[in-house]
């Protein structure tokens, strides 16, 4: 596997260097033909320029990266750019331009669209953000990913763009929607308990090996539903890390015999009864 990460840092950006230039340099280098994984970091002032030019450049250069199977758009730390300030665009043209992709990861949901959300061969789709919009959730639902094995969505909080209802999210778990799905992550959510209760007995669990409900506001309420579910007992792995469960509940999981991650227990704030997902802004 060969992987390259491209970033325009502050000094390069202020000196007028563009992601387009870096991509063209890469396309003209001998390694382009063998490149399997490309990570795009900050494309230069990602809080004031959206990713459109990067997308257009990658689409124009599609024949230069014939072996590309993994693409990440927006891999930047919280220091480089606040996740809720990252300006995305419609990334669907990348799906069309790179039919051999297996894995597609997006960070940042501001301005994000996946329209149309369609790919014949994609196996992993991950969206990391502080708040995923109803529109994008609907686009994924309306789209077509027949080979998808892993779907990982950071749902986030309403303050940073999560405006979907529980029902909107649950539509993604309708039977047959992703026939090959084995890893479902509906995580980093402020409605983690409601999701846990709704998913505990959902048919989609029958096909999964992993249910990822980490990074959210899961408390004993949601955990109880999961712990009591026969379907959950059949999972190979359950990720509940970053949670608000009690010590007692964590011990019940530990003695359940299940392969479950209960790391990163959060303190309930004493003067403020409020729980936060891991990644908000």
């Amino acid at each position: 596997m060969s992987e390259v990460k491209l970033t325009i840092d502050y000094d390069q950006y202020e000196n007028g260097k563009k992601m387009k230039d870096l991509l063209e340099e890469l396309a003209n280098s001998p390694q382009s033909g063998e490149l399997t994984s490309l990570i795009i970091g900050d494309w230069g002032g990602a809080y004031e320029n959206d990713s459109e030019e990067t997308v257009e450049t990658l689409v124009a250069l599609k024949d230069r990266f014939p072996k590309l199977t993994s693409l990440f758009i927006g891999d930047m730390s919280f220091e480089e750019c606040e996740v809720s300030w990252i300006m995305q665009t419609n990334l669907a043209p990348l799906l069309e331009a790179y039919p051999a992709l297996r894995s597609f990861t997006i960070k940042g949901s501001t301005g994000l669209d996946l329209n149309p959300a369609r790919h014949e061969n994609l196996e992993e789709l991950t969206i990391i953000c502080g708040g995923l919009g109803k529109d994008v959730i609907h686009q994924i639902y309306e789209g077509s990913f027949p080979r998808l094995k892993k779907l990982e969505l950071y749902l986030g909080v309403d303050e940073y763009g999560f405006d979907a209802s529980l029902e909107d999210v649950l539509k993604l778990t309708e039977p047959g929607k992703f026939p090959e799905l084995t890893y479902l992550g509906l995580k980093n959510s402020e409605i983690q308990d409601e999701l846990a209760i709704a998913l505990a007995e959902a048919p989609i669990l029958d096909g999964l090996h992993t249910l990822d409900m980490s990074d959210g506001t899961l408390s004993d309420t949601g955990a109880e539903a999961l712990l009591n579910s026969e379907k959950v007992k059949k999972l190979q792995y359950l990720d509940l890390s970053h949670h608000y469960m009690s010590d007692e509940m964590v011990n019940r999981w530990k003695s359940s015999g299940l392969n479950v991650n209960t790391d990163d227990q959060q303190d309930m704030d004493e003067d403020d009864d409020y729980r936060y997902p891991s990644l908000t802004e």
Binding site: T7, Y47, E48, F78, E79, E80
Partner: protein, 458 residues
């Protein structure tokens, strides 16, 4: 006979205990502890400590005692005493504020000696940071005067004037810049950033949308704000431990919270930043730190006598990495850094301490740029040696320092502080030669050029 030591600090705290344990382990006599509280209430003095150490009646050729200043923090009586010492009506004011960088600036709403001494303890409260620092600098100046009266060449591990310089982040940045040590860009000189509006204007016009605003005299995470503005939407965000309580018409109370908080509301941000800027703050570019998984880190590198020794990486999900804020300690060995990068970071820290030629030990905070991994100095901590569970060649930081600095060798005794400074400068010179790729332009020899001045306190 091994060299005696006078430790100016707070007795019975972890620092003093750590140092005394180290001395015992190395077979050195315990240091005479000169408490800050006693210095402030007049019940103790350096001369008294010197006679306890048997140093006043030393025969010619006997070493002067090693003088170590340690952190004055964590004791309210000392904090209050220093604020009183910094009062405009304190008799010490007659000596001027020569050791206080930017000492000509007046402090906002100063407290009289009487009001300062009447302060009651409120946990975490920031009573008056600039007046506290003025008082601390006055105490440092007094100790320097007294030491010069007692010994022809006082043997400070870190000289009072260097401590004042390292304690003031504006001054540290100035000294390091002049020495050609890489530091994040200054947004603008402190006098150009009087308040929140000037700060924002400066950030927008210079297109530096991410800065750290640091209380000039703060230590640790205290008074540090990671501040950014979004030039497109006008949104802003401040991450800090500074909290504020407003009580109607009464003056607001600023305090240091144990947890980081995130402000996005302009009125709160304005209030916090205005308070910091009024007390004196340093504003520099916020350089994104290198990543360790989905978190980022910086390195606390201890430097003793010109040599990098103990180090620890502080890994965090937040811009402020101080260890009490739930950062994780990771061995620098485990970061997976290329050996050249690690050596460059250590050399950068050594060079930073060499810019303070009358100092032999400091904890230097080094960041590595997220993209280039080039090192930059974030902070210098003259009392930055309290590092738990970190060993170097089998020794903890205190044992290491005592074995390096207090071995009682005739060399240390006979030579002036100048020889100690040249010990410090030597490895720096060789490190500097391998340093050219680190984006460090300016005066490569600046730091190494100073040992000649080391022996003379002016």
């Amino acid at each position: 006979m091994p060299q005696r030591m006078i430790l100016i600090g707070n007795p019975d705290n972890r620092r003093t205990a750590g140092l005394q344990n180290a001395r015992a382990k190395l077979g050195l006599p315990p240091a005479v502890v000169l408490p800050y509280a006693g210095l402030l209430d007049g019940s103790a003095s350096l001369a008294q400590a010197a006679s306890l150490a048997g140093a006043a009646s030393q025969p010619a050729g006997e070493p002067a005692p090693l003088l170590r200043l340690d952190a004055p923090g964590e004791l309210f009586a000392v904090e209050r005493g220093l604020i009183a010492l910094g009062a405009p009506d304190h008799e010490e004011a007659a000596h001027g504020d020569r050791l206080l960088p930017f000492g000509h600036r007046s402090d906002p709403q100063p407290l009289s000696v009487r009001s300062a001494l009447a302060l009651a303890e409120q946990e975490g409260r920031q009573y008056h940071p600039s007046q506290w620092f003025r008082g601390f600098a006055r105490l440092l100046a007094r100790l320097r005067r007294e030491a010069e009266e007692l010994w022809p060449q006082p043997q400070w591990t870190n000289a009072p004037e260097d401590i004042a310089g390292m304690f003031d982040k504006r001054q540290t940045h100035r000294v390091l810049s002049a020495a050609g040590v890489p530091v994040p860009r200054l947004l603008a000189p402190p006098e150009e950033i009087a308040g929140y509006e000037a700060l924002r204007d400066s950030m927008l016009s210079r297109r530096v949308h991410r800065v750290f605003v640091k209380l000039a005299s703060g230590s640790g995470a205290c008074g540090v704000v990671a501040y950014r503005i979004n030039p497109r939407t006008g949104a802003e965000q401040a991450v800090t431990t500074v909290g504020v309580e407003n009580y109607g018409a009464r003056a607001p109370v600023f305090y240091n919270a144990m947890k980081l908080r995130r402000y996005t509301d302009q009125s709160a941000i304005r209030q916090v930043l205005n308070w910091l800027l009024r007390h004196g703050a340093h504003v520099e570019q916020w350089i994104a730190k290198a990543a360790y998984g989905d978190r980022t880190f910086d390195i606390r590198q201890l430097v003793v006598a010109g040599e990098a020794c103990h180090s620890i990486a502080r890994v965090s999900r937040t811009p402020i990495t101080n260890l009490h804020l739930r950062s994780e300690r990771v061995s620098v060995d485990d970061l997976g850094l290329a050996p050249g990068i690690r050596a460059e970071a250590a050399a950068c820290a050594v060079k930073a301490l060499a810019a303070f030629p009358r100092s032999l030990a400091a904890g230097v905070d080094v960041l590595l740029d997220s993209a280039s991994h080039a090192p930059y100095i974030l902070d210098m901590n003259p009392f930055g040696d309290l590092l738990y569970r970190v060993v170097h060649k089998g020794m903890d930081p205190y044992e290491w320092q005592m074995s390096r600095l207090a071995s009682g060798s005739a060399e240390t005794a006979e030579e002036s502080a100048g020889s100690a400074a040249s010990v410090a400068a030597d490895p720096t010179g060789s490190a500097a030669s391998g340093f050219s790729g680190a984006g460090n332009s300016g005066k490569p020899g600046g730091a190494a050029g100073s040992p000649d001045e080391g022996g003379t306190l002016r």
